[in-house]
């Protein structure tokens, strides 16, 4: 039979490229799947099942952490045995339309392995901390459902080997962040902040989507790596470089910039940073998880993931347009946000602006120094910023939900554990020399900036940012932990379930630095796929010691000025800030966040409000009329059809019934009447069809 011989042609079978990948790579999908399944299970639980929900969430994430460690171990082993460029992918076809097929897949390489461990570990600590922090909330189960879903989505972003899968998880992350920021939706400010976060990040996502579609149109694949056929591999990249786009950019550069716009939205870079400080309306563990450790880092991770694209076309030691843009945006954000942080009074807002500023550092590090430089700061920052946020949460918890640092003070006596861990986090953030991880990671960025060939300005901007960082953190710590208590009710230390995670994070905030010192640059070697050697001459690189001295001095200067202005000066909560007394107009500008929100209010939002009114008018008077017309005509059709049904078909039936009712019983009436009409129509239809056919075939 001819038809059966061709039976196996149409849809090609599932393409699966296992490529001899390891067990760990095969099981990688479980890491995001477990928390997502847990979220689904928690969603089905009733509200009072608090213990079960927390157990499910923490249990699933523990398994994810375990699997992440196994995966990390796998990559580490490969690396240790000299297989430096180890990268395993598992790809499968999602669906296929004609010749186009859309593939999804996941990847296990040093970048994803490190990120997996960080996200699941920090996430797990935050989950545990949340059981204490949210203990009194009535929507405890809902909280853990969202938290779990978020963790799963974030882990999905990390393992994706396909821009499409990454985008799906990315949007899921955006959704859960919306849900979590607006968790206390009864508060109008929280609801507004959630909306703002969602809409602002959507602006970036539109560009991201455009970039993705463009990439697919040019290369026909969205997989990053696919045995030479992926979009981040040589063939696709050279095709993209050969394709010119507008403004002297190649297609590679233009797509890179579009993707960066998405990353800028998620990572709170200028000019899309406005949502991040407002997002502090959410519960503090959320701020720690989403706005310090993971979600905002997703943007940085995305750039690291598509780095081959961003870097495509760069000559040795050179840079590309896309990376230059990333650098300038990052450096500007770093300084801009640090300036604003100086003049804030809400403990979490200060940290939020500090996060924006540090994300700027990471972006600048990626732009100037490569993946390893940016990612190292991402990892260290995730630990100490989560520590700071959770410390802030502990403070807020101890001070009976007070967030204004002017109404705190002297807490070092009341909350000793929180104080010690918070100070460690603060010193790591400031980049206190030698002993803290932040020093080494920030130093890597400064070093890259110093050697950057395009301009020197980013270097000075970042050094100035470091000074500001030390200054505002000193101000915050002085306000919160020193002086006298300025609040109403006395503060108390938080329970162990909250302080133990703080201590663990503090430990890592100190020790992680050891992975990236110039003497033993393990982190860099691991990510770049080189061997790492212990070499004391690492310090002897030209200019390195001078740079380290400079940054040390800058940090001490910041700490000193901060302490001089704010240290041990007993003030009433209503008293003016020291800086406000000195330069009132600068203070006002900084306090009001450079009026960016107001600017958006009178430009973008006003434009949309106007456009909304125009669209409303069009909708009501133009489209509405058209739609009503169509609907009306369809209504007419339907009525006509029913009319035919009742009067022509049923009419003859009724007629038949009437004729029969005189003689026949009820049963015969029902059974025969209508069928006669049916059969008549059947015969007529046959005749009509034959007539049409013969007529149409006439010569």
């Amino acid at each position: 039979m001819m038809m059966q011989e061709e039976a196996a042609v149409a849809f090609s079978p599932l393409t699966q490229c296992y490529g001899g990948s390891s067990f760990a790579a095969h099981m990688l999908w479980l890491i995001p799947a477990l928390p997502i399944i847990a979220a689904g299970a928690i969603a089905l639980l009733k509200q009072p099942r608090r213990k079960t929900s927390a157990t499910l969430a923490i249990g699933s994430l523990s398994f994810s952490l375990l699997l992440s460690l196994v995966a990390f171990g796998q990559v580490l082993m490969d690396w240790a045995y000299g297989d430096y460029g180890s990268r395993e992918t598992v790809n499968l076809t999602w669906f296929q339309v004609g010749a186009i097929h859309v593939d999804l897949g996941w990847v296990l390489d040093p970048l994803s392995a490190i990120m997996l461990v960080m996200v699941s570990f920090v996430g797990l600590l935050i989950f545990i901390y949340s059981t204490g922090y949210m203990a009194h909330d009535e929507n405890y189960t809902r909280f853990f459902c969202f938290l779990s879903l978020f963790a799963g989505a974030m882990l999905g972003v990390v393992i994706s080997n396909s821009l499409l899968l990454l985008f799906m998880c990315w949007e899921l992350v955006g959704l859960t962040s919306y849900l979590l920021i607006g968790f206390w939706y009864q508060k109008p400010s929280a609801a507004a902040a959630a909306k703002k976060a969602f809409l602002t990040t959507r602006v970036g996502d539109i560009f991201f989507l455009l970039g993705m579609v463009w990439l697919f149109a040019q290369t026909g694949t969205l997989l990053f790596y696919n045995n030479g056929g992926g979009s981040m591999e040589h063939v696709a990249l050279s095709a993209l470089l050969a394709q010119p786009a507008a403004l002297g950019l190649t297609a590679a550069g233009a797509i890179g910039l579009l993707i960066f716009a998405g990353a800028a939205g998620k990572s709170g870079q200028l000019p899309l940073h406005v949502w991040l400080p407002d997002a502090m309306e959410g519960p503090t563990p959320v701020s720690a998880l989403i706005h310090a450790a993971t979600m905002v880092a997703a943007g940085v991770y995305l750039i690291a993931r598509v780095y081959p694209l961003m870097q495509a076309g760069a000559l040795a030691g050179g840079t590309t347009t896309a990376l230059t843009v990333v650098t300038w945006v990052g450096a500007s954000t770093a300084v801009f946000a640090a300036l604003i942080a100086v003049a804030q009074n809400d403990i979490k807002r200060i940290l939020a602006y500090s996060t924006v500023s540090q994300l700027g550092y990471m972006m600048a590090g990626l732009g100037m120094g490569g993946v390893a430089v940016g990612m190292f700061h991402l990892i260290t920052h995730a630990f100490f910023k989560a520590l700071l946020f959770m410390g802030a949460g502990s403070v807020i918890h101890g001070c009976h939900e007070e967030q204004d640092i002017r109404r705190m003070g002297g807490l070092k006596a009341d909350m000793p554990l929180t104080f010690i861990t918070y100070s460690i986090g603060m010193l790591a953030l400031c980049g206190f020399p030698i002993f803290f991880s932040g020093f080494w990671s920030k130093d890597g960025i400064l070093e890259a900036a110093q050697h950057w060939s395009v301009a020197k300005a980013p270097f000075y901007m970042l050094v100035f940012g470091a000074l500001l960082t030390a200054f505002y953190m000193t101000r915050q710590v002085a306000y919160v932990f020193f002086d006298h208590w300025r609040g109403h009710k006395p503060a108390h230390e938080s329970p162990a379930v909250m302080t133990v995670p703080l201590a663990i994070l503090a430990f890592f905030a100190i020790t992680l630095g050891a992975l990236g010192t110039p003497v033993w640059p393990w982190f860099r070697a691991f990510l770049d796929g080189r061997a790492a050697g212990f070499d004391l001459h690492g310090f002897a690189e030209p200019g390195l010691l001078a740079l380290m001295t400079t940054s040390t001095l800058v940090v001490f200067l910041g700490l000193g000025v901060g302490w001089r202005l704010y240290g041990n000066k007993s003030t009433r909560p209503e008293a003016k800030d020291a800086l406000e007394n000195a330069v009132p107009w600068v203070w006002a500008v900084l306090r009001d966040r450079f009026y960016v929100d107001e600017l958006y209010g009178v430009t973008v939002i006003a434009f949309y409000a106007w456009w909304g009114r125009v669209a409303d008018w069009l909708d009501r008077h133009v489209w509405g009329g058209a739609v009503t017309g169509v609907a009306w005509s369809f209504g007419l059709w339907a009525r006509l059809s029913r009319f035919l049904d009742t009067n022509v078909v049923d009419g003859s039936f009724d007629k038949g019934c009437e004729e029969l009712s005189a003689g026949g019983g009820l049963l015969s009436r029902v059974q025969s009447g209508r069928v006669q009409a049916y059969l008549r129509i059947l015969a007529l239809a046959v005749v009509a069809l034959a007539a049409v056919l013969i007529w149409s075939a006439r010569p």
Partner: protein, 511 residues
């Protein structure tokens, strides 16, 4: 018979049908012989389980049989492998689902008879979907149809059921007469009962002046098959039957019988499009000294008939559904509309397997979804005593799971992504446009897309009552656990196949 291996071959090829028939007899023996004093519940469960076991055995036999088919005297009688195997597997799987729904229903005390009739009808469906010969086709169709008439009448205490069965039977009898009449013409024209030979011969004869007779034959056959798939204007039985038949029987008619009939239409269309491949076309041109005739721009009269039926079904089905107040009648008109879409795929049938695969994908997923829809309607109807739209008021309060299943199934029927109905429509329309990029095909696809937008309206009418409008009665609705499990499984399958369309596509393409 003139070759020695015929009977062994016959047995080997019809092993699945044999399994079903054996199970059908076994059910009767056990139910009427051993379980006469048992409780009705037990008898229903046992009968359904034996039936399911029979279907399972048939599925297993289907995997084991060779893919050579059964030939007699060089002509293929029964085909195997390829789309036939997909359709047969689908028929058996859908039969299992309807048998599971039967466990939870209580419209009859004659459990054994019901299951054995279902199995025999399914065997008829298997034959229909593999038949390549007019006589075999007719026997298969009659076996299937007679089973369906009986199933429709099975709710003996319901007047509606009896009335629907009577109408269905009369209408079906007349259609069968037309079909047989058409077959006899074909035999007269071609001197053969094999599909391929007939189509080839009929083209030569149409070139030499025999065309009008051929047209009459084709129209008569279209009437017979149009009745099976409920295409306008041969659809008149469908609303009454769907309304009157007991729910598992209606689900069987709407799914299994449709799969079999469309598989037969695929056989015919495949044979037709393969007429003019290479050698034959050259011979045709040499024979008539001119290109093959065109019919309103369509290559073959068969596809013209199908186009007319398709357009009429889409328009009438979708518009009439708008005015319905009974959900079962609504489903009937929606079935007519869906048949219209599929007929469009048959009218523009591709030379490669793309069309056959798209049609099978459509009909299998449609069958799955519609079984679920009838299951939900039945549960509601038994709780409220009515299948009116208003019976669904506040369903999400009365049984949230049931309402969720209804939501998934109806949105899938309307073709909303990411549910499976979307991919079914997408594949089908893509296949149509892949065959012909001309204005006619494009206009018809545009019409189909516009009408599926219209269809969303009546599906949402039901969902609006289930979810949005205030409930009049908030007492919970209880469903039999087996029924509920089947419905949930169907809804889950609709979601999973929708999210991962490659699963089913590759499975179908793999044969």
């Amino acid at each position: 018979m003139n070759y020695p291996g015929f009977y062994p071959d016959l047995f080997r090829v019809t092993l699945p049908e044999t399994a079903l028939e054996v199970a059908a007899l076994l059910v009767l023996v056990i139910d009427l012989g051993f379980l006469r004093k048992a409780a009705l519940k037990v008898r229903v469960a046992v009968a359904a389980l034996i039936g399911i076991a029979g279907c399972g055995a048939a599925l297993w036999a289907l995997q084991c049989t060779a893919r050579s088919g059964l030939s007699f005297d060089g002509d293929v009688l029964l085909a195997q492998g390829g789309y036939t195997q997909v359709a047969q597997t689908g028929i058996l799987a859908l039969t299992i689902l309807t048998l599971l729904l039967f466990i939870g229903s209580a419209f009859t005390r004659h459990a054994g008879e019901y299951v054995s009739v279902v199995l025999m009808a399914a065997a008829g469906g298997l034959i229909v979907s593999s038949a390549q010969d007019l006589l075999v086709i007719f026997i298969g169709l009659e076996l299937l149809s007679l089973g369906l008439y009986i199933l429709t009448a099975f709710a003996k205490s319901s007047g509606k059921s009896a009335e629907a069965a009577m109408k269905y039977y009369l209408f079906g009898g007349m259609s069968a007469a037309f079909l047989l009449f058409g077959f006899s013409y074909l035999y007269g024209i071609s001197g053969s009962t094999n599909l391929n030979k007939i189509l080839l011969a009929s083209f030569y004869s149409s070139a030499s002046g025999g065309a009008p007779l051929l047209y009459v034959a084709l129209v008569l056959i279209a009437a017979g098959l149009g009745f099976k798939v409920a295409a306008v204007p041969f659809h008149l039985w469908a609303p009454d039957t769907y309304e009157g038949a007991p729910a598992p029987a209606a689900a069987f008619i709407a799914s299994v019988s449709k799969v079999a009939s469309f598989a037969l239409l695929i056989s015919i269309s495949t044979a037709a499009v393969h007429l003019f491949d290479g050698v034959h076309e050259l011979r045709f041109v040499a024979f008539t000294l001119g290109p093959p005739p065109k019919y309103l721009g369509l290559w073959i009269p068969w596809s013209l008939i199908l186009t007319v039926l398709s357009a009429a079904s889409m328009v009438v089905g979708n518009l009439a559904a708008l005015a319905q107040i009974s959900v079962r009648r609504l489903l009937a008109y929606s079935a007519i509309a869906h048949a219209g879409y599929i007929l469009l795929g048959l009218a523009f049938f591709s030379h490669s397997n793309a069309s056959a695969n798209a049609i099978l994908y459509y009909i299998l997923t449609y069958g799955l979804t519609t079984i679920g829809a009838f299951g939900v309607v039945d549960v509601v109807q038994r709780a409220t005593g009515s299948d009116r739209l208003d019976a669904f008021l506040g369903l999400h309060k009365r049984n949230p799971l049931l309402a969720a299943v209804l939501l998934v199934l109806f949105l899938s029927l309307a073709g909303i992504p990411p549910l499976v109905g979307f991919w079914a429509k997408f594949n089908l329309f893509a296949a149509v446009l892949g065959v012909s990029a001309g204005p006619v095909a494009f206009a018809l696809v545009a019409l189909a897309v516009a009408l599926s937008a219209v269809s969303l309206y009546y599906y949402l009418q039901v969902l609006k009552r289930a979810y949005v409008m205030p409930a009049v009665d908030e007492t919970p609705i209880k469903a039999h656990p087996v029924t509920m499990a089947v419905l949930l499984a169907i809804a889950a399958a609709v979601v999973v196949f929708g999210c991962f369309p490659a699963l089913l596509q590759n499975w179908i393409a793999g044969f």
